[in-house]
Each structure stands twice: as C-alpha cells, then as structure tokens.
Symmetry: C2
Subunit: 322 residues, 2 copies
C-alpha cells in the first residue's frame, strides 16, 4: 500500500516550464491584441507538453513537442518566427539534452529545417556527435527524414521590417539606438519533469536580428543556453547570448546546486540576478527545474514570456516583471 501511495505522489510531480524569450518587454510597447496572442500561444504550448507528460510520456518528448509548437508559431523568434540575419536570411539554432544520461544534441546555423529542435534530437539519438552546423547539419537532417522547407518558409513581414529598421540604424549610428527591441533576445525553451522523475531541456532560436558572420549564441551551446542532468536541474536560457556563453550560465546553475547545495531558485537567482546583473549588457533570464518539480524563472530584463503547468493541467503564463 505504501508503495502505491508513493507512486501516486510521484505521478503528481510532472512539471513543464517554458519561456518565449526575454528583453525589453513592457506594457508600453505591447498592444492588448498582441498580449492576448502571446498569452494564448504560451498556454497552448504548455498544454501541448502537458498532454505528453500526463499520459506518461518522457520529459524529452514533452520539451520537443512544446518547442516544436513554439517554432511553428510566428510569434516567437524560433522556427517560423525567426529573425533575419544581416544578409536577410534566417539561420536557426537549437539544442536538446536528456537529464537521465546527459545525452545532448544541437544544430547551429541551419536554414531549411522546419523544426530545428527535432534536428537537435536526431543529432543526439542518431549520430555520435553532439553539435552539427550549417550545410552539414542540414544534410544530416535530410538523411534522417526530417521535414525540409524552402528558406522562404521562415519569411515573416514583422521580422523583415525589424531587420530593415536595424539596417537603417546602422546608417545613422547615433540615432534610434534606444528603440524598443523586444525581439533582440528572442528564444524559446522548455524544461520538463516526467512521471519517471527524469528531466529534459530544449531551446530553439533564430538568434539576433541583423546578426553577422555565422554568429552563434548560447542556445545551441550545451552548458551555456541549454543543460539537463537529473542530479541537478534542467535549464533553458534566453538573453544576450555572448554573456551566457562566457559565464557558462546553464552549467553554472547546476554547479551551484551540486557543489554549494543551493536550491534551484537560489542557484538561478545567484547567476541571473547577482552575477549577470553586475555585468553591463548581460540581460536575460532562464527557466530552471529540479527533479522534485521545484522551478525558478528569474530574469534581469524588463520582461520574459514564460509559463508553467503542473499535474493539474492548469496553465500559468506571465510576461512582465511583476
């Protein structure tokens, strides 16, 4: 009887936490309609992953399904809604990690894979590598039978206009630098805990508008933007990627839990609200989840699209700092 009771409790511990990017998000630069759209999309993303977890699916399946949904939405800077590079292309990055065994996969700079997060999973499960880039990654994804699209699939008017604004700014170096850039740090991510007690993390992004030179940010870097290990936590980050790489943000949170005994909330706060807050420009946030279902969603920017859903199936979403 005791064992049954424990199992029932364990089952309740499923948890999914998501983000849809951090940055200069505040009520001033948000219309009511736009806010409603984001809230609806975040709720739907949460329900998508919850459905997987509720029927006993793995955390890996849940974070992949959730991120695929967000990649397919034009609202978020990932997949369909990806921002444009300086050359007017969409170059996508994604990573996934399995907390059971620290298996990981990532792709960077891909332009024809409809769902980069599924390509990252294929790298993890069907190759001996962790990270693939560019044409090579596309060739691999094609061989693995993933859905390939024409690069024009990723064109959206909103992101195209954002690039034109950025290009205009470059011509007037002193002007407009204060323009609201809600999408500067756009990224999507999910962390989940399944009924078996396993953690997983997934992150996907189009990077930064007007990025150049094959730039890669933190999202596809294991230990920077994405990390999962049942012994500590699952992390997905969003923010000024260069700082998140230099500070090994995702792994640092895990290390603070393992080596200093901090809770997931304390560890995530320490990195986002102490270490990074002290560094000019190091804006962003993380979602962090431990193997008991405790989670944190700290950010040091004005806002972060975020949400969580537990065993009761009730989605919770938030956007601003309050």
């Amino acid at each position: 009887m005791f064992a049954v009771t424990v199992t029932a409790q364990e089952t309740k511990r499923i948890m999914l936490v998501i983000h849809g990017g951090a940055g200069t998000i505040n009520r001033k630069n948000m219309t009511e309609d736009r806010e409603r759209e984001y809230r609806a999309a975040l709720e739907q993303a949460l329900r998508t992953g919850h459905a997987v977890l509720a029927k006993g699916g793995t955390s890996l399946d849940a974070v992949e399904a959730t991120v695929r949904f967000m990649e397919d939405s034009p609202l978020f800077n990932a997949g369909k809604g990806a921002v444009f590079t300086h050359e007017g292309k969409n170059e996508l990055d994604a990573a996934i990690m399995d907390g059971r065994n620290k298996m990981a996969g990532s792709v960077a700079g891909v332009t024809i894979i409809k769902n980069p997060i599924s390509a990252a999973r294929a790298v993890m499960e069907k190759s001996k590598h962790v990270m693939m880039t560019g044409r090579g990654a596309e060739l691999f994804a094609t061989k693995m039978g993933l859905e390939i699209v024409d690069p024009s699939y990723f064109w959206t008017e909103r992101r195209w206009k954002a690039l034109q604004e950025e290009l205009l700014k470059e011509q007037k170096p002193q002007a407009l630098l204060q323009t609201a850039d809600e999408n500067r740090f756009g990224t999507v991510g999910a962390v989940a805990l399944d009924q078996s007690g396993n953690l997983a993390a997934a992150t996907s992004t189009g990077g930064t508008t007007n990025k150049q030179y094959g730039r890669i940010g933190d999202s596809p870097i294991i230990g920077a933007g994405t990390y999962a290990d049942n012994e500590s936590c699952a992390i997905s980050a969003t923010g000024a990627g260069e700082f998140f790489i230099r500070w090994s943000v995702a792994y640092d949170i895990a290390a603070l839990m393992k080596y200093r005994g901090l809770t997931v909330q304390q560890a995530a706060d320490e990195v986002i609200n102490k270490k990074l807050r002290a560094v000019p420009g190091a804006e962003g946030g993380v979602i962090a989840l431990d193997a008991k279902g405790n989670f944190a969603m700290p950010f040091n920017s004005e806002g972060m699209y975020r949400g969580w859903i537990g065993a009761d199936g009730q989605p919770h979403v938030a956007i601003y700092g309050d």
Copy 2:
C-alpha cells in the same frame, strides 16, 4: 624593500603549460625519430610562449603565439597538420579566453584561415560576438586582415592517408576497429600566467579524422574545451569532444575550485580521472593552471603530448603516461 621583494617573486610566477593532443599514444606506435620530432616541437612551442611572458607580455599574447607555432607545425592536429573530414576537407576550430575579464572568442568550421587561433582572438577583440562559424567567420577574418590561404595549404600526406584508412574501415565495419588512432583526439592548447597575474587559455584543432555533417567538438566551446578566469583557472582540453561538451569539462574544473575549494590539481583530477574515467569512451585530458602558477595535466588516455615552462626558461616535455 618588502614591496620590491614581492614584485620579484611575482615576476617569477610566469608559467606556460601546453598540450599537443591526447589519445592512444604509447611507445609501441612511436618511432624514435617521430618522438624526437614531437619533443623538439613541444620545446620550441614552450620557448615561443615563454619569450613573450619573460619580456612582460600578456598571457593572451603568449597563448596565441604558442598555439600559432603549433598550428604551423604539421605534427599536430591543428592548422597545417589538421586532419581531414569525411569529404576530404580540413575544417578548423579554435577558441581563446582572457582570464582578466572573461572575454572570449571562437571560430568553428573554417577552411581558409591559416591561424584559426588568431581569428578567434579577432572575434573576441573586434566583434561583439563570441562564436562565429563557417563562411561567415572566414568573411570576418578576411575583413580583419588575417592571413588567408588556399585550402590546399592544409593538405598533408600523413593526414590524407589517415582519412583513407578510416574510409576503408567504414567499408569493413568489423575489421581494424582496434587500429591505433593516435590522432583521433588531436588538438593543441596552451594556458599561461603572465607577470601581471592574468590567466589566458587557447585551443585549436582540426577535429576528428572523417568527421561529418559540420560536426563541432569541444575545442571552440567556451566552458567545454576552453576556459579562463583569474578567479579560478585557465583550461584547455583535448579528447573525445562530445563527452567534454556534455560534461562542461573546462567550466566544471573552475566550478569545483570556486565552489568546493579544490586545488587546481584536485579539481582537474576529479573531472578527468573520476567523472570521465567512469564513462566509456570519455577519453582525453586537460591542462589547467591557476593564478598562482599551480598547474595540472591529468589525462585518462594512454598518452598526452604536454609540457610546461616557468620563469627559469627550462622547457619540460612529456608524452606517455609515466
């Protein structure tokens, strides 16, 4: 007088530690001539970096100069001596990090840059990015005036033969898998401490023979194959890169020093000889140096080309496990 004495002691603390790759290196598969060549090249690399440090140069200049020397040597799997990809190309990765301010730069998958480590430094110092890949990174390096070469510059008979052997193995999946593959984990790296007490780390590689799909290993990943922070240590890794990424090896050593108070030797041993030794296939090693000049060079493979040089200018080199 006391201040002068301290300064003199501080000056003595310059230190440079290097590696030239780890793997199945043992006396059985090494000729006397070949061993002499490696020892001479390692000593020359050490003297190159030492000359920079001895005249008051920065650790950053020292590790760059040292790695450039090793990139220009056909002996090591980096720059001129890089291994071939499955498609018969040479795709190079490199990273550099400055322990003073955690600034970092890296390039991955570049094919026409003579010295990838200098391109990594240009990314760090002349762009707002940390990591650039492929054609984009090459365009950036070209604009920065770095030396560009025809891809044929990287062709060497020894590495070409190694690829042919690997391709042959693929056709006979059951045969020859036990062949000595001394170059499987080839990488070069340097960590240095300068007279001002600043640490720096640099790593450069051609990756693995027969690599496919734009694979990137740990070398250009900050926190995996390369890391430097005056508060903890400077690290350059060499080994089965996928494991070094999944275990965030370089940053994990730093975290063990910061959060558990381990010495650089204890922390490096913990990761290489405990954590990774327990994982089948996770072979390799690191060089690790703290801001007081203490260093460690643990490896769990049969051998690692390695060496160190202190204030006295006397180079020390070693290859095997004893």
